[in-house]
Symmetry: C2
Subunit: 311 residues, 2 copies
Amino acid sequence: MPRGSTLNTSQEACCVIVDWGTTSFRAWLMARDGRVLAESRGREGMTHCATSGFEPVLRAHLAAMDAPVDLPILICGMAGARQGWVEAPYVDAPTRLADFAACAVGVPNGFADIRILPGIAQRDPLAPEVMRGEETQLLGLGDMAARQLVCMPGTHSKWVVLEDGWVRRFATFMTGELFSLFSKHSTLAFAMDGDIPFGADAPAFVKALDKAASDLSLSVSRLFCVRAAQLLNFETKSEGAAHLSGLLIGAEALAARQNFPDYADVTLVASGAIVGLYKAALQRVGLNVRHIDADDAVRRGLFSAAHSIWA
Amino acid sequence: MPRGSTLNTSQEACCVIVDWGTTSFRAWLMARDGRVLAESRGREGMTHCATSGFEPVLRAHLAAMDAPVDLPILICGMAGARQGWVEAPYVDAPTRLADFAACAVGVPNGFADIRILPGIAQRDPLAPEVMRGEETQLLGLGDMAARQLVCMPGTHSKWVVLEDGWVRRFATFMTGELFSLFSKHSTLAFAMDGDIPFGADAPAFVKALDKAASDLSLSVSRLFCVRAAQLLNFETKSEGAAHLSGLLIGAEALAARQNFPDYADVTLVASGAIVGLYKAALQRVGLNVRHIDADDAVRRGLFSAAHSIWA
């Protein structure tokens, strides 16, 4: 169900932009000057829409925002996957971020100019990679240092090398999915106590991060310790999630540091509770962290792409 | 259902030995001289018996072997866990393998002298560990080199340092469980094509092993490549399982090599298809491999413990 908040639907509205992920939907009604006039969020991601259809979901969110029906609509994310609404074929890396809006693919429909942005593919047989949605966050980073390393944590964390506005190279870490898999479906599920929130200062997180971020062989060989620590009464179930999280995020940070050894600084593009956890991990492996809000970045990226298509 | 094969149930039978794991049951009717008189296998592991009860399962297997009902019975494995039949509390490492038969726990019942061997706990707050069943395989290795490293692959692989018959230190790698989790429940499930068997010479296995066994940061950062390689047509679904397996077993081998740097030789205790895969991985990280069959080892270990209890 759309969860809309209408601030203003006056004549100044110029477009609708949509971040359509695997499990989430977010749309914004934008004014010509970049202000957000209305917003609508929901859980109708690609997976949901594969059965329900995409257009009815989009229309419901447009209605929730009181959006004029004939505005152009720009979409990024999994709606452009092969299993999505209309496939927007990958653009190949290296690619200039400013160019890829031109590769947006039109969606045949009866009511508006709807386009979906492509993802990016790295066609390297030794390190094949794909992304969908993160490229739009990158576009929204704005101020591009000559060369920078970007970390975008999530279900599938992306680490990206940007150079003069080009996506040079990237790598995926399945950290978020691993955490969810282990805590729901593995032996370690017995070591977790629901979704108890914890911060970067939780002792079990700090201890595990210290281990994992100092020696990759420990994160590989100490996963089972999350369970054994409780069987032997060193830890309680309430500490299991923080322990596991420290091992996984620590391993990601250290492996990425080794994969991208030329960088001392990293731009962390993230929102919510993981910001603190990733900041701690990145600093622990010696990186200087600049944080940018991921929600802001994707909105700015979409708006900038929409501007270059329809302005 | 018991799958028994009765070779001989003559008067020479001296005991029944049972390896009772999480998901499997194996029993042997033994002669005084160590010959196997009958065998019975089934899928009624601890998980199954937690609801069905343990005694009826055991009795059915005894019947399948035509075992005299009053023989003493020695059990190892998860039947001795807290969620098992009767808890056999862990013996603490370091521990002498020859001693722990004495710690077997009696099972109250109306028909025989039944005992369950304990597992081993490593009560190190920095590396807490437990094992149940593998200690009995270790006992079955027989000829003990002064100091040796043992690798016992499985759902939870155990790496153990043995010294003069003592278990000094051990570590668990969740490799088998990770493979099963990823191939069934993760995004990588889309990259797998059922249970197609592959060998250590499968190109996708060799390539992935080469990566993972040379640099741990690659196994952490290249999991998603199993999926991306197919999206970008570098690999087919039939290669997914071999690719994933190479990454996971390679990571285990390299991490273990780093965890136990003092050893150039390893005793591989394994049966079936994983023998070849682990041999390749262990050799790839520079270890000399001596292979011992795991089924033989657990049977010899159980018989040796039974002998020390009842002889």
